[in-house]
Symmetry: C2
Subunit: 249 residues, 2 copies
């Protein structure tokens, strides 16, 4: 196994950091790594905001659901889908690009672009001995986050990424079985088979929690998913992204 | 620079492959690497289809806009956003999860999950000396692609990924300037400054094309973007994803 695959397979979300900032060189390497990812038709539909300021981090931590590691880390990155610069291009090149830029297709393109870049950033950080954690909680209050970061129209934060010197190691949570995720030639669902596989996976997950909590937790994966998804969250999102000029047509 | 960052920075899309299949071990390492990526609240909202069959590849190549490397490669992966298994969970756990699963928020979650996994797959492949290329063209005809791969409701292919033994090396295309993509503390757009930076970037890009085509091409980046985006494509996407149960509310 080479060191790239080792780094990839060794990934775990780190939620506790030393209070020690990243160096400028580390920040630059992480952002340049992000930029090296593939981008759909060269569109480069993202911007990254780096937050060092303690007060801004504190506010972001509150907005993201009081996660302390959003406040205490080495650096906080906010990954944004960005078509603002393409609005500027429309002006420069005197062309109407609004139909494409407001389409669901380009909304998907921008999200994919951002996530590919972010995963490069994460792996670059991890390869330097740093830890990282994606912060989806940033989407709790995107209106407030956008104001705080002074984002223009046509830019939306998709998630945060805490990076820092780890102050504790987390366990890796077992993933869905390989055959459940990977299909050859065709998908062809077989729901009865799926249920059997999920039941077996539930047992694995229950044992995982049981062992790590001295029997206090025995959740199943399907139970966790059903609980989480029966309480829909961030239902303002459709209206919000449309207002910001995405996913309209 | 460590070998992870080296692999990341050395990325280029490979569009020509030897006609030599990946080994089963390579496929397994690539998929397991994909699965090791972070997943939003453990939701694991993706499936990956691996295509070896020549005839299926040929059809997919046609659907994706006649790209020959979709037909000739070591393996063709299709990365799908997948809430079908969460529909099965709803049945198992007897809960109504439809509002969450059909929301724009969970549509974004699924796309992010898929792309993080895919970028791990890409880097794992590249670290083994293989080349890779994302195939957004797969979104040209998603109805046909979905039929061909026998996808159930609540699964949509987001992109393909060709992987194989490189039969030619591509140049790295210069990315937007660091400062144009990375902002500290706040974004605070300054459109006049942006235009100056884009004009300078255009010169870099023109020189890049000029050098590589013996003066035949001198495109600017803003020109390319304006040309591409003034011809909106895949405008069926909003209706299609809604029909498949995504992005509805």
């Amino acid at each position: 196994m080479n060191s790239v695959i080792e780094t990839i397979l060794n990934h775990r979300s780190i939620r506790k950091y030393e209070d020690k900032p990243l160096s400028e060189e580390q920040i630059q390497t992480i952002v340049e790594s992000a930029q090296a990812a593939s981008t759909s038709s060269y569109i480069q539909a993202y911007s990254i905001i780096g937050v060092k300021d303690k007060e801004t981090k504190r506010k972001l931590a509150q907005l993201a659901g009081n996660q302390p590691y959003v406040e205490t880390n080495g650096h906080f990155f906010v990954f944004c889908a960005d078509f603002h610069r393409h609005d500027v291009i429309a002006e420069m090149e005197k062309k109407d690009l609004s139909t494409a830029l407001e389409s669901t297709e380009q909304f998907m393109v921008a999200i994919i672009d951002v996530a590919l870049a972010a995963q490069n950033a994460t792996l670059a950080a991890e390869s330097m001995g740093l830890g990282a954690c994606y912060i989806g909680g940033l989407r709790n209050e995107l209106e407030e986050v956008s104001k705080l970061l002074k984002l223009p129209h046509h830019v939306i934060p998709l998630f945060g990424l805490t990076v820092g010197h780890p102050a504790g190691i987390t366990d890796k949570k077992p993933r869905l079985p390989f055959k459940h995720v990977y299909h050859e030639e065709t998908y062809e669902p077989n729901d009865e088979q799926t249920k059997k596989e999920l039941t077996a996976y539930n047992e694995e997950i229950s044992a995982y929690y049981n062992e790590r909590t001295n029997g206090k937790r025995q959740d199943t994966w399907t139970g966790q998913m059903a609980e989480m998804l029966s309480n829909p969250k961030r239902m303002y999102m459709k209206e919000f992204v449309e207002k910001q000029g995405f996913n309209k047509k």
